[in-house]
Subunit: 327 residues, 2 copies
DNA sequence: CTAGTATGTGTAACCGGTTACACAACTATA
DNA sequence: TATAGTTGTGTAACCGGTTACACATACTAG
């Protein structure tokens, strides 16, 4: 392995000059620069990032902390983070937290020892002093940790309003809202959006809390549809829940979208694979991940960031679980 | 930050003794051990992994190279790798290769500079000298790179046979086999398994190549069902393709499973969310990832491994796209 | 003409570990 | 009793970079 000393010798300068040239720090004469450049090329010198880390106390590692990569929302996010990180020369470490503060804390401490550059965090823990005190660049997704930590989020409230209107516009009079976990910020924003919209019109509605889990949602919806046959529209706070609702309807022999219309939230690939295709409020997950990564890297590199809060717009995607015409 | 020198001073010994104690290398007297142990506890000393890496030229980083985490097969794999790695004190770096040898090579080189401990590779590139020459512990999933690299794979051929039989046993006489990409090892094993099984019985069949992609599969199947209305069973080499087939059938108004039965391959979560639920040959993806990680860590730590080739059994999961009784 | 600033470079300490080697003391063997 | 082997420890070099500081030269302004 060629070291900076080999390069210095070959170029006839000191290691300090080589280092200055490589890092564009301090003065280096034209002459010296060329000599070093030539030596680097000739020796095929490549800087050792570990040695550098040891005294700069920095690395180009980014930690991505998410609850569970297995949850269909996260792979696309991870993909975006990795893509963008790569273009800036950063490497992504995957951390599944299972929402456990203990695990998150553990990752943060382990990776701090490796001089990790920063973290992107997707978590629903309402309180997280280990983030606030981490003393590291952090960007949050979907949840505000504190006012100093930039946050990227979908426009959940607006999205919920869109989804609700989609059902109302298509004639629904009795809407079931599948509310997500109550300790989850984005789910609560969606709840607010639904409530504000539904209360402006003359329609009945039910709200049921329901985890973002297929089988549970299916069971809950099945029971609701049995107890309340008048329900003619379901708005689920996640696509997975919506899939559960669709399955429940199928099992009960309720025609979708003729007798019951369903709208989901997320826009994951699953939606188009269902029959009928799932109408949903689609988040631009890739974009969220991309923005989060760019913001984080700016923070890492001490550049100014434009905002503390980025809201990514959502989009209504109409498919087969809603009727085509607006009544 | 407390260093090994602080500990040495506190314990009244040399840094060498501290290091020997921490690494269990060389001789350390009972007395010295206790003094060091006490000093470590008192100073809350934690070893700096970067400094260690610099001269051992080793780290506890594992690279996970996969085509695209967005593909529903991989999140569970990634999860397994991360879980197991964590229990052994390793950290996982996520690398999306998009099947491009260039990207893979780039990751390998970048991470080698960080003294990465080893790689788990899921790739379909048939030729990969950069792996063979990487001079690092590597474990392959689903594909044999060369005889020196341990490989973990599902029993694809056996699985294909199972899936084919499931259709035959339920009365299918005209089976469409959706073969996967032809440059993909596991897909070819499944093809072989299908062919061997179907040729032993008196049944018609068609074979069509078809990427593991929903919309493409749907189109291909739609066309095939139009051209060959006699088809009464479809065996897809992946669940995503099977989902496409199911959608095609729905669009054409063909009753599943009454007129057409469908079996997929993979066992991803999507299967149970479809209506009817997808009968499939399920791979134990988590187990594959777990085994791969354990084998890799054994290689990293120079322990003996049991086999060069691990075949993980598959399981037929019966759901609604096949009829319940065997005829 | 001189002080002050910008330009340019090298020496050597430092980041925080590991380890080769030298050396001491003690035990076992012939 | 001489010799070899085992146990135990410390010094200092080393991994491969960065950077504080000292020093030298050239240029500018007063």
């Amino acid at each position: 392995m060629t070291t900076i000393r080999d390069v210095a010798k070959k170029a006839g300068v000191s290691v300090a000059t080589v280092s200055r040239f490589l890092n564009s720090t301090g003065y280096v004469s034209q002459e010296a620069a060329e000599a070093v450049s030539a030596a680097v090329a000739e020796l095929k010198y490549e800087l050792n990032p570990v040695a550098r880390s040891l005294n700069t106390k920095k690395s180009n590692l980014i930690g991505l902390i998410l609850p569970d990569i297995t949850n269909p929302f996260f792979p696309e996010l991870a993909r975006a983070v990795e893509d963008i990180a790569l273009t800036y020369g950063y490497t992504v470490i995957l951390c599944n937290s299972d929402e456990k503060p203990e695990k998150e804390k553990n990752y943060i401490e382990t990776l701090k020892k490796k001089y990790i550059a920063g973290f992107i965090v997707t978590s629903n823990q309402s309180d997280a002093p280990h983030y606030a005190n981490a003393n590291l660049p952090i960007v949050a997704l979907d949840r505000i940790i504190n006012e100093k930590i930039p946050t990227i989020s979908s426009n959940n409230k607006e999205g919920a309003s869109l989804g609700t209107k989609a059902l109302l516009d298509r004639g629904c009079k009795n809407i079931l809202f599948l509310r997500g976990p109550e300790d989850l910020n984005p789910a609560n924003d969606r709840y607010e959006g639904f409530m504000e919209t539904i209360q402006q019109v003359d329609a009945n509605y039910h709200v049921v809390s329901c985890p973002f889990h297929f089988a549970d949602s299916q069971k809950i919806v099945e029971q609701m549809l049995r107890d309340h046959p008048e329900i003619d529209g379901i708005f689920a706070s996640s696509d997975v829940s919506a899939a559960g609702a669709l399955k429940a309807a199928a099992l009960l022999g309720i025609a979708v979208p003729e007798k019951l219309q369903i709208v989901g939230f997320d826009g994951v690939a699953l939606g188009e694979m269902l029959t009928p295709g799932l109408t949903t409020v689609a988040q631009d997950v890739y974009k969220m991940g991309a923005i989060a990564t760019r913001v984080l890297i700016k923070r890492i590199e001490n550049q100014e960031i434009d905002h503390q809060f980025y809201e990514v717009p959502v989009k209504l995607v109409l498919r087969g679980t809603t009727r085509s015409g607006i009544e």
